[in-house]
Assembly symmetry: C2
Homo-oligomer: 185 residues x 2
Amino acid sequence: MPHIPLPEGVPGPRGPMLFRPETAEPMSEMAEVLMRGPSTLTLAERELIGMYVSAQNDCRYCQTIHGAVAAHHLGATEEQELLVQQIKCDPSTAPISPKLKALLKIAGHVQQGGKHVTAEDTVQAREQGATDLEIHDTVLIAANFCMMNRYVDGLATWTPDDPDFYRQRAANLAQHGYTGSASRS
Amino acid sequence: MPHIPLPEGVPGPRGPMLFRPETAEPMSEMAEVLMRGPSTLTLAERELIGMYVSAQNDCRYCQTIHGAVAAHHLGATEEQELLVQQIKCDPSTAPISPKLKALLKIAGHVQQGGKHVTAEDTVQAREQGATDLEIHDTVLIAANFCMMNRYVDGLATWTPDDPDFYRQRAANLAQHGYTGSASRS
């Protein structure tokens, strides 16, 4: 049961965002720019960073929906869903690019706390081809999910169990984004 | 030295926000609505919540500037600066309202992770007169500072040492807010 009265049957952050539309608007806009705006990071890479940080924060809703959005962008097959699980469990052994591995390492350090990110982390990411803007966006995506995960779990919002719910919602988010009427994850 | 090339002499989040104006805009808007928009929480109470969470996250820039903004709103005297330090060290023994103590307890739990917030925390806050909206905003302010602290330290932004720098910047932020040209803390 949520800690405050939220609209029923509305999952994750969407409940408190309906409860407080004034703050929901810039939150949605930030998600849209950061996760879907012009970038040399692919849509899937950005969702995987968000999924990974959410898993580290043990936020079931966010890790499931953003894992599903990532899988959707990657092709929406069972194989892609398995890849997402593999990345969640251990990015260092998953079949992904060395650049994404280095960025996920930075994201994991951001999750632990800003000071855990080292100059060496960013040197490694650059050696694998990451740009300054990609490093910036990785830090900000990870930080943003540290906010969203706490918003979702700090208010004890509704987390559905049905995997198909997440697949359908992921397809909807991938099509309409985070600011439309379908709105934020 | 920052982890990516940021404009020199620009403190805290303002450096990366100049580096990436597309994401800076909704971040600034969110801060303005949450920290300065219409609310039954005072400006000082909201800044104290942000200051406290930043201290728990060991973010020197954010705890210092938001402590200074809180002290400014409270009257900008040495006595108020000492009160802010007292709240930072131990809100439970500081001379503040029972409601603010209960909200700071919630904020501290959000900092540890969303699932640390308990139903009992919110019952206690309501018993001290907190509304559902105040509980919502406390959770979101705490979560937002968990993002900002990681943005500031995760990129190793510039943190000035001079206490007067923070006093002057605090007065500026209190007057012009988080979206003006003086912009985000």
